[in-house]
Symmetry: C2
Subunit: 415 residues, 2 copies
């Protein structure tokens, strides 16, 4: 006996989402009710993040609670195969963001079109963000396509211990959702759609979002126990987002105008060493109080950071090497980043016996050389936190502008 309604839930879910939207519920969630820490209200009703738009979702979208970040390498020499696959990816991403399944024949004689593990989970505020790495443009399948102007491998930084298999990649997918399984499902299905054309290179699960991206979200703590991202750029900072995030350079390929650059760094934290550091030392390294997140010398998290304030003996309250001083726009020609970081815990380091855990750092910017690279150069040299951190992966990717319905990433990037 076959099930009469096999694989039809997707439409019901879509209708449910639409119904929520018509009630104004989805919009409210999307703008970012104070980070719902995975707050499903009822079954699977986490809301829908629009896939289509001027910019890609997952950048200024209120940061979801879970991340699956994956990279892929082109495994085909065929331009049309790659283009078709990337178009299929964007269509699939749009469907999954709506809580729909990958469509296909539901006959028992064929493999299911969708792997199915998110079938009852709802849209989960899924966003799927796509980027292309520098190596893509040396692939035969991409021959003749101009690379984005600011897309170049990051330089080596002092202290880097990069795992090449975790780094780089011809393309990346950042899947964020309030349900970890929804984020995994998205990457799983894109990997499957890419078989033979885009080979999975690396995959990283992240939990416990740190940086907020809207004022409605409270600041969360990273695995060092500190509030992280207090001074992040926020979706509502329209002028700053235009200034620091969205590409508007006419020398860029047309598909990068409205796009941005994503930098990803897997940053292992030496948690045992950190935990053995006195509270005062931790706070001096960060430049903030651990409990409140207030800048040293302040009382409340969002008190302005006064880098010139001095205390006893005329010493600066925020020490010279404090992270927030070295990373400050004031120390970096005014440059800022839009951050979207997640914690990770991948087990035990076989050599040291220490936790292999830390922060999977993602940031978005208009120009990686002027923004991430310039800031990270200073951090790698001067930041008191640097001795507690080991960067174990690195990647930079150009994220195209957002798509309109009917457009696909293959068509837009490969023409």
């Amino acid at each position: 006996m076959r099930e009469p309604d096999a694989f039809r839930l997707s439409r019901r879910q879509l209708l449910a989402s639409s119904a929520l939207a018509s009630l104004g519920v989805v919009g409210a969630l999307e703008v970012g009710s104070p980070s719902p820490a995975g707050a499903a209200v009822g079954t699977g009703g986490n809301g829908v993040v629009d896939f289509y738009g001027t910019h890609q979702a997952g950048i200024v979208t209120a940061a979801q609670d879970h991340l699956v970040f994956a990279t892929f390498d082109v495994a085909s020499r065929s331009r049309s195969a790659l283009s078709t696959t990337l178009d299929a990816w964007s269509q699939a991403a749009a469907r999954m963001a709506s809580g729909e399944q990958i469509p296909g024949d539901a006959s028992p004689a064929y493999p299911p079109a969708d792997t199915g593990e998110a079938l009852d989970a709802g849209p989960g505020r899924l966003s799927v963000t796509f980027g292309v790495g520098p190596t893509l443009f040396s692939r035969p399948a991409v021959s003749g396509t101009a690379a984005p102007v600011s897309l170049a491998d990051l330089p080596a930084f002092d202290g880097d211990q990069l795992d090449p298999t975790r780094s780089g990649g011809d393309v990346c997918i950042q899947a964020c959702a309030d349900d970890a399984q929804v984020a995994f499902h998205a990457v799983h299905n894109l990997a499957r759609l890419g078989q033979g054309v885009l080979a999975l290179r690396a995959l990283q699960v992240g939990f416990g979002r740190t940086s907020s991206t809207t004022t409605a979200q409270e600041t969360k703590r990273n695995l060092l126990g500190f509030k992280d991202g207090t001074d992040n750029l926020l979706a509502g900072d329209t002028a700053e987002i235009a200034q620091f995030v969205w590409v508007d350079d006419e020398r860029e390929p047309h598909w990068m105008v409205g796009g941005t650059y994503l930098v990803a760094r897997r940053i292992r934290a030496r948690l045992e060493l950190w935990a053995a550091t006195p509270l005062g030392g931790q706070e001096a390294a960060v430049g903030r109080f651990k409990r409140s997140g207030a800048p040293l010398g302040g009382r409340h998290e969002h008190d302005p950071v006064d880098l010139s304030a001095t205390g006893a003996h005329g010493l600066p309250l925020i020490p010279d090497g404090a992270h927030i001083r070295v990373a400050s726009p004031l120390a970096n020609a005014g440059q800022r980043l839009l951050r979207r970081g997640y914690g990770f815990a991948d087990g035990v380091d076989p050599v040291s016996g220490e936790l292999d855990a830390g922060l999977f750092f993602i940031c978005f910017q208009k120009d990686p050389a002027l923004q991430f690279t310039a800031i990270q150069r200073r951090l790698a040299t001067n930041d008191a936190l640097h001795g507690y951190l080991v960067h174990t992966s690195s990647g930079v990717y150009a994220c195209p502008r957002g798509l309109s319905p009917g457009e696909g990433w293959g068509q837009v990037v490969l023409g």
Copy 2:
């Protein structure tokens, strides 16, 4: 300037929890409102799971959404050091389950007593479950203490590809919570308290709970896309829980009466092979319809499984090798398990290039030899799913009875 209220939130959080309890809110959540998929209602108000009781928490407790499972080896020859550390662990676990911090000096001159990453997260329905492995009893620090009667290494099963570093361990900690960071925080702080005495051996993050443990929880899907645990033992099946889960054998050490045995298996799923299998083949391998979870021949998930039903040509509707037939109590002398499984995704297998993802399987039982081992022997030989699964870790642990306030795991197990 010091913060006047540094590290005092813990008490406020405790008061908040008590306030919720007095409103009857905590109880309602704990019995298991339909799995809240991490449903924080407001900030950090996920409820408290009682740490103290006849049995340990985290066994029949309504399955939380996230898992961190860790194993440790004894690194000291001192019985008193081990006993003191285990007592400190249970006290810390009780505090963290209440949403409190590890207590200690909040002076800037000392390392913080708590690592702090869950400071604002609330209790998150955290449960911390403790078990001891067979190897513990050959450690000098444990000399003279009798091992539980049914605690013995699991035999090798056909197809096992066990990673020894992920397997075994002198003790285990299962931390479950509706907030992944709360679960990580618990293991992180226990690891820190154990330094020099209990060395971290392995750590596994799991997301996307599969098996429900209460009737109020809907069945979730595993990464194969199937509802998992439809026929699980449930907290409300009091007679079956007494029959299959809680140890009541008078030959056992007194601390095992009211305890249980935990088996953990990291089961990698060959997701690429599975995704290439026709829907009918997947359903035949499981014995259930993918969409509804109904047994083949049935219409609804909870329809009774009729192993004798036949279809065309007199063939069984549930094939000979179907997972639910081979794992059925009818095929296993009536034996059953209490399951608590989670999905995992640890990246890409460096050899095959395939996803290193699957199910971190945990089950509880009165007697591993009669229950998990007997059933797994049949599954490893006859289960049609077996060809899609690779067991990459294995562990068996005796979980003591629950503690009363004032008791500790060291005192109870080591005397």
